[in-house]
């Protein structure tokens, strides 16, 4: 099971990833309340293989639900960096797209994809569970086609992302041990 060979293994792996997405629902804003109906009996997202993950280490999909203050953005970035490749991000609500109703708020970021790579945006204020499931299906399509490579993108353009993060955080940056590693076991 060597991982650095594309082809049939990778194809099967993408199929498996598509059908088993473990969700880390990061309840930053009003979108957090849309998660329970999405997962439970009414809209049963588990039939697509979705499942709640307890910690970033186990999660594949980070759902950023709603506006991000600079304070919560820090947590989101640390969480995202603690997840393991392959990892996807699904951003809910117009707040994560362009600030939404917090368009001129002094501590709410306007574009999430400046700070972490986002796979799927779900517009709306707030998107209903149907919309979230729609977004998840779109994500599944991307995974199947092998285009959901956010982790690779983040690794390659790390300087650019760190520059944008530094513009927001100033000199209170996160410690760097979550993203640059040396050695291994």
């Amino acid at each position: 099971m060597c991982t650095d060979n594309p082809g049939v293994w990778e194809y099967i792996a993408n199929w498996a990833r598509k059908h088993s997405i473990w969700v880390l629902a990061y309840g930053t804003g009003c979108g957090a309340i849309e998660m329970p109906p999405t997962m439970t009996s009414r809209y049963d997202a588990e039939r697509f293989g979705l499942r709640g993950a307890a910690t970033p280490r186990q999660a594949d999909l980070l759902i950023v639900s709603g506006y991000l203050a600079t304070k919560t953005l820090k947590r989101v970035i640390r969480t995202y960096e603690q997840m393991y490749d392959p990892k996807y991000v699904l951003a809910l609500g117009s707040c994560t797209i362009n600030g939404g109703m917090y368009w001129d708020s002094y501590n709410t970021i306007k574009k999430l994809d400046l700070y972490i790579p986002v796979d799927v945006y779900v517009a709306g204020c707030m998107p209903r569970p149907e919309a979230i499931i729609e977004g998840i299906i779109a994500l599944q399509k991307r995974i199947e086609e092998g285009r959901a490579e956010g982790a690779k993108k983040y690794r390659e353009n790390i300087e650019w992302y760190k520059k944008n993060q530094r513009e927001v955080f100033g000199d209170e940056m996160l410690p760097d041990y979550t993203w640059n590693f040396e050695g291994g076991i």
Partner: protein, 627 residues
Amino acid sequence: MIGPNNVVLIPIIAGILAYFLGKIVKPAREGLTLGSVLAVCYLVLKLPFGKALSYSYNFNLPAYFDGLKFGTNGLSSFFAVIIVLSYLFIAFTAFALVKDKEYHGTFYLFFNIVAGSLLGIVYARDLMSFFIFWEMMTWSSYFLVIMNAKNPRKTGLTYIVLNVAGAYAMLSAIFMVYAAAGSFHFDKINHAVALMHNSKVLIIAVLFGIGFLVKMATMPLHIWAPDAYTESEDSFTGFFSGTLSKMGVYGFLLFFATLIGFANLKGVSSIKDTPTIGYVIAWLGVITSVFATFRAIVQDEVKRLLAYSSIAQVGYIVTAISMGTSLGIAGGLYHAVMHTIIKLLLFITVAGVIYRTGKERFSELGALITRMPLSFLAVLFGIIGLAGMPPFGGFASKWVIYMSLLKSHHYILLVAMIVSSTAAFLYCYKLIYGIFLGHPSSPELMEVKEVPAFLRIAQIPLMLALMIFGMLPGLLVPYIDKAVASLGFATSFTSTDIYTLSAALGGFNGFVVINVLGVIFVIVLIWYTLFFPKSKKLHRLDIYWAAETPDEDTPLHYGYGIGAELHRIPWVGASLRRHITTLYEKVAEQINGIASVMKDILFNGDGQIYMLYAVLTLVAIIMFLGR
């Protein structure tokens, strides 16, 4: 030929010499100790195992006293081997840890004397020398306890009071036996006891029992043990908990199995083909192990946890041997060996850790695995044995004890024993986590070095021994059989080769177990290492912390938290809140009150009343002499 009588003298003389020569040249103490250790090891291991020999000092004595008799048989050789080997390992530990303490000289003096007196106890063949060496052990270990104690007055007092009380209970029993048998010699006693009246047998048994239960720290006579084990000199504690407590086992077996004889005790009264007193003592042992286990879990001091755990483990031995069945005694002996090995290993390692870090609480230690990997491995082996888990030796001994209880139909006892042996996992995990895993409680823990070389010399053979006894559980069987035979029991193991251990209801093959484990482990490890991407080396603080960023002084070590749930479990919490010493204190208060009242009545300073006492005493004496 050099017999036991001389072997006993070697460490004692070596100790006394060491004390005085050491005043001139300090290393002489280590040198003499090493010499006596090696000599004793050579001589004891050279003695034929399990062959009954006897020697005696026949200097001219009054007629009623027929010499100090020494000798050996299966049981004596069994325990003598335990003693000399732990003497060896503890001596090595002491070389490393005691060298720059101010009580250097006295330590080696009393340490050697203790070793000698232990040998004297197991080789004694008459009650007089047995008692002499017993007292010697008690007193010299007393000095080793108070030598380094934080609270020497309380610790030493409880220790000495309880042990001396036990010893004098023994002494009175000895005189009762002498009055009946007319001799101190072991061979003459058995017949005399057989002829005795039941009540007298019972009294003797109870008195002897008290003496040995104190040494085995069985409830309710255990209160000296936690303090004494915790506060005695670190390098000696292993000997204390591993070997001195086994003297209680030896004495118990000697007196109850050969001198008094379980047959005679059954004659008094018996439950389910077990002597009633044995049954009661068995329950005492189980209760001890259960409560000591629960108490061990909630401790914060490392050595105190180990102290309570050894009380619990010796509780198993008490239960097993007091059944009076062949398999039970075999299990007790097996567990005695295993417990000695495990406790030596753990106490030596912990002594090294305390010596290196200077901290002795779980809440102050942590994350030492990167600094002292060998000690981590030692403690890992130790706890696998302590929890009685395959594939190591601890499992075999526990297995024999379970089988003995199943065979003699003491199911409720077995269930109670399961409670404590299941709860033991908790303190085992607390021991290894609190010291070696998790996060360092203070930054300077990350600079400590591995334990000294002498300790490593002691650790490695002990770990190997645990592994070998786990792989070849049948290895000890012939020796145990010899020891049991010398107590007049038939062998009870049905296994023939050294790979398997099988008795009453079943059996298992330790060799297969450890091989299956090893093979699967290696296969999985290879598969895992070759066919998967290397994992990233994560930073210590790169953990899931609810998306927060912990910094260096965030309290992340959970060392003391383990076992906090126990206080909330209704029955266990209640047992943890109460302590038996409070009961003793209440009793003492009452006695104080009564005594003061009596004093006011009797000694009221009136001369005539005193005269009356004198006259009454005189009359009483005359009446008794008159008969």
